[in-house]
Amino acid sequence: MMLSITLPAIIAVLFLGGILAWLAERWKDGASRWVALLSLLLASILLAGYWPQFTDASRVGLWWDSLQLSWIPRFGITFFLALDGLGFLLLALTLSMGLFGLAATWRDIDFRRGFFYFNYLWTLAGVVGVFTAMDLFLFFFFWEVMLVPMLFLIAIWGYEQRLYAAIKFFIFTQASSLLMLIAIVALVFLHYNASGQVTFNYRELLAAELSPTAGYWLMLGFFIAFAVKLPALPLHPWLPDAHTQAPTAGSILLAAILLKTGAYGLLRFTLPLFPEASIAFAPVAMAIGAVSVVYGAVMAFAQRDMKRLVAYSSVSHMGFVLLGLYALNTIAIQGAVMQMIAHGLSTAALFALVGALQQRLHSRDMDELGGLWAGLPKLSAVALFFAVASLGLPGLGNFIAEFLVLVGSFDSGRWVTVVAAIGLIGAALYALLMMQRVFFGEAKKINTDGLLRDLNGRETVALLALAVGLVFLGLRPQGVFDTAEPAVAGALQRIDSALAEKSRDAVPLATSNAHSTEARWPHSNPEGGISP
């Protein structure tokens, strides 16, 4: 069964929920967060409508659902949303992390609450749009929608240097998305030149024939925009500031979800749209990924600010995603997909824990913290769990992700993989040092005011849910792989046929070159509706 209006409904629920939350706060103090909770729950219920597809092992074809409405026909722009397994996984991550962020910081916001939850929900709506838009114009639209509310979240409710961090975040992302916009327009234009048809439709643009040079430059435009988001070295400096200065809920959104849009973009757009250029660029991208892994780990090790440590650990972990995606084989890309989810869970939890500490102790400085285990045994034990997840302990999702990425990329680049594997040692260094400096050792003066309270029920349930999720991903990950498989295979098929073409060019026995991927995409149906 196709619930073809479900996707726009999810987005609409979040947009409208945001507006309602803003209004509700005027009506009654604290009502906004209930509105936010309800709209997130409603969106989750709508998404749960796809559960039959998720559990159906025999499902065929790539797309679970799609909806295409005419929007600006003159420029071939359509309102085209579609969902596949990859999209479903990421939507599930988005909504559950949205709920987690809400629950973990339920009482944190004490001024302009209505506007806070408005921005919170609009960011989520933008992300949902990004994960489902199959029209490049629409994609770009949502890409911008998720940034602006995020900017407000950092600039208004952030910590000491919020304005600096917000502006930095904005400049980095805006400059890079400008590059993407140029690349999108150029791609559409080149496609128009070749085919005489103006379209922003992703499916149709996949067929665009590009000269190698043009393809390479356009690929770079997309790559840089996504690499900033990821973030990859050397485009990462916005991240430590933005993550550190953002309010806890904002950090959770940033780390758990927004970074994943970059990875998603690479997998959904950069690789399939520009397969030849991506093959040519792959060694560079893998090297960037591996260096990010090590560099992020070393930077995390050197930090004093606990939140900054977690932020830099994200640079390290997302390096694995880049490495895996550009290894261009199933094992590594599946590992990268798993890393998106597992890193989302583990880092969201770590940010929630730092936020919980900050709220209790008003400090994130690890030189001032210390010996918290005695006073906060529950919080410390939970932190230990997520620190250990972060360093990639087998049995948890992060290990599966990193192991698959490394196994897969070993095939494509041995030395790069060895460098990235050294990042495993780095992860142990910073994660254990954080445990030592914050939770072990002698209790410091700052903690002895007797007002310390351990995790309450709400926080415990929220954090344990993520812990269970990570254990599940570590022991029974196959569901994720099966769900993501068609999208991964689709991207790889483009790569493989480009490779085959390349080798055919080398051996002049070439005959036809039909793109067999065509059949996998949904029919474009301007009336809206239904895919095969």
Partner: protein, 615 residues
């Protein structure tokens, strides 16, 4: 083969896991701490039941059947692009031996801990960690594929970290714990790369499939050598062999039963297990085999020398553990697989015994660990003394103790492997002499001679619950030599003879060591002289810590600190600053004075015209 009792196998690691989960979930349901008795029942009982199940399994499936194997498939872990991994267990006699050691010795040490840790505020946490450790160690030995093995491998590393740093208030314990985790992780990373290489080469990580594929592989192939060396990297990390041995002496910061279980009997022998399990890979590479043998020989000598001069009772035992595992590596390197595993078993018995007795001594002396403040304790705590005597006799491999049989087998194989006199064998014999020397030096200093400053306050701290494990381990240590397991089905037959005089030397070597020990400790117990350079070098474990500190740790930390503010960010803030400067520069021109505007306008026009003319 589908047989009854297969279900038992899954329960063996599950029980300690359930114990762990029960113990950690106490704060979720109640604000009150679980009583010690209940904690001990859960913590000790789970491992005890696992031991019982192992016994049952041995009786139903393995007794009298030297070739028995058992494969148990729990669920499919993952299947991605050609990489198939199952949560599968595989049991043969090697597995069974390891299972028995882990659950059996593990149970005894748990039981001892129930008494030893009484009154500690972290009683529940202690047993939770310990149960998790047993679970991970069982997964390690049961695993049918290398990734599941790696899961157990890292799991035991984590528990080792947690238990070394158990008394977390002292930062020194935390440092020792982190050192242990990170040094072993360096080895683990090498091992992980080895797994990538193996998968790349053979397209499987299932141990039996790998071994099947290896049967048709070319000997001394570069890839195989590299893979074997990388696995060896993992093994030397976990088993504290050269050059990654530095973490084990520091690991003594943990509670003493932990040292007995993790850092003597089970976890540190995981490297030996790994190499024995993957022996078809190692035999294909002469380089790798020689590397294993040389690592073992060097380690046993260097660590033995360090054990000679230590003053802390636990550090003597720690260096002795490194040295004894060196013997096992030596055995592996000369292809004496059964000998290595046999020594692993006997060592688990007598070293666990020695550590537990050391724990009793430490407790009896109110947490005194310096052997120079002990002395003459044999009259005050006679039971403890007898246990320690048995342990030392086994460690020194005196005839008819268990250590004698296993060590003898190793020396024999070393002799035969190179068909006669060779350096590896000589290292083993010299090591046997050193072992006799340091073990009886320890015994004599603690229990004989004059009473030291701490001996006066000695009172027997053995609780009944601690006595039972000591007796059981003492019996096992004495008679364990009769327990040589039938490992031919795993490793193939071993055998061979050596000339009489070779045997005689091997038997005599520890006695020479003991004689020297008696002479040094009883007749020449002179006041401390200024320590010689050699003494200091040995005392510091040959200066490896200092070497690594200077070469690796400090440069790394300095570099990381130096770049704390992220040099990449400097580039961007540089750009920002430059544009701000530029902005300032340009805004200078907007000064509101009309003559300036007129002048610039004129100059601009002239330049523009000049440009036109020039073109």
């Amino acid at each position: 083969m589908e047989e009854t009792g297969v279900g038992i196998v899954g329960w063996i690691p599950l029980l300690p896991l359930l114990g762990f989960l029960l113990l950690i979930s106490v704060p979720l349901v109640s604000d009150r701490e679980l009583p010690e008795k209940a904690t001990a029942i859960i913590g000790v009982g789970s491992v005890g039941l696992a031991a019982l199940l192992t016994g049952l399994l041995a009786a139903t499936h393995f007794a009298g059947n030297a070739g028995a194997t058992l494969a148990v498939s729990l669920w499919q872990w993952l299947s991605v692009g050609g990489l198939q991994l199952g949560f599968d267990f595989y049991l043969d006699w090697l597995t069974l031996v390891m299972l028995s050691v882990v659950t059996g010795v593990g149970f005894l040490i748990h039981l001892y801990s129930a008494g030893y840790m009484r009154g500690d505020s972290g009683y529940r946490r202690y047993f939770a960690y310990l149960n998790l450790f047993v679970c991970a160690m069982l997964l390690l030995v049961l695993a049918d594929n290398l990734v599941l093995l790696y899961l157990g491998w890292e799991g035991v590393g984590l528990c080792s970290y947690l238990l070394i740093g158990f008394w977390y208030r002292d930062p020194a314990n935390g440092a020792a714990a982190r050192k242990a985790f990170i040094v072993t992780r360096i080895g683990d990373t090498a091992m992980a790369i080895g797994l990538f290489l193996l998968f790349n080469e053979f397209a499987t990580l299932n141990i039996r499939e790998l071994i099947g594929a290896l049967s048709s592989a070319q000997p001394n192939d570069a890839t195989i050598t590299l893979a074997a060396l990388l696995l060896l990297g993992g093994a030397v990390g976990k088993s504290a062999q050269l050059p990654l041995q530095t973490w084990l002496p520091d690991a003594m910061a943990g509670p003493t039963p932990v040292s007995a279980l993790i850092h003597a009997a089970t976890m540190v022998t995981a490297g030996v297990y790994l190499i024995a399990r993957m022996h078809p890979l190692f035999v294909l590479s002469e380089t790798a085999m020689s590397a294993v043998a040389i690592v073992g020989a060097l380690t046993l000598l260097l660590a033995g020398c360090s054990a000679l001069v230590q003053s802390d009772i636990k550090r003597v035992l720690a260096y002795s553990t490194i040295s004894q595992i060196g013997y096992m590596f030596l055995a592996l390197g000369v292809g004496a697989w059964s000998g290595a595993i046999f020594h692993l078993i006997t060592h688990a018995f007598f070293k666990a015994l020695l550590f537990l007795v050391a724990g009793s001594v430490i407790l009896s002396l109110h947490h005194e660990q310096d052997i120079f403040r002990m002395g003459g304790l044999r009259r005050k705590i006679p039971f403890t003394f007898i246990c320690f005597l048995i342990g030392c006799a086994c460690l020194a491999a005196l005839p008819f103790t268990s250590g004698f049989y296993s060590k003898d087998q190793i020396l024999l194989s070393a002799w035969n492997f190179h068909r006669g006199f060779n350096g590896i064998w000589l290292a083993g014999v010299v090591g046997a002499l050193i072992t006799g020397l340091y073990s009886f030096r320890l015994l004599l200093l603690v229990f004989f001679g004059r009473e030291g400053s701490a001996s006066a306050h000695c009172e027997d701290a053995n609780r009944p619950v601690m006595t039972l494990p000591l007796v059981a381990l003492a019996v096992l240590a004495l008679l364990g030599g009769l327990l040589a397991p039938p490992l031919q089905s795993v490793f193939g037959a071993a055998g061979g003879h050596a000339p009489m005089w070779v045997e005689a030397i091997a038997i005599a070597a520890p006695f020479v060591g003991i004689a020297i020990a008696c002479w040094l400790c009883l007749y020449r117990r002179t006041p401390e002289k200024a320590p010689s350079t050699l003494y200091k070098l040995w005392y510091s474990g040959w200066g490896f810590d200092r070497l690594y500190d200077t070469l690796l740790v400090r440069p790394f930390v300095a570099l990381a600190r130096l770049n704390r503010n992220d040099i990449v960010d400097r580039f961007y803030s540089g750009t920002a600053a430059a544009s701000r400067q530029l902005h300032g520069l340009i805004s200078l021109s907007q000064n509101g004075q009309v003559r300036w505007y007129m002048a610039t306008l004129a100059v601009g026009t002239i330049l523009f015209l000049a440009l036109l003319v020039a073109l």
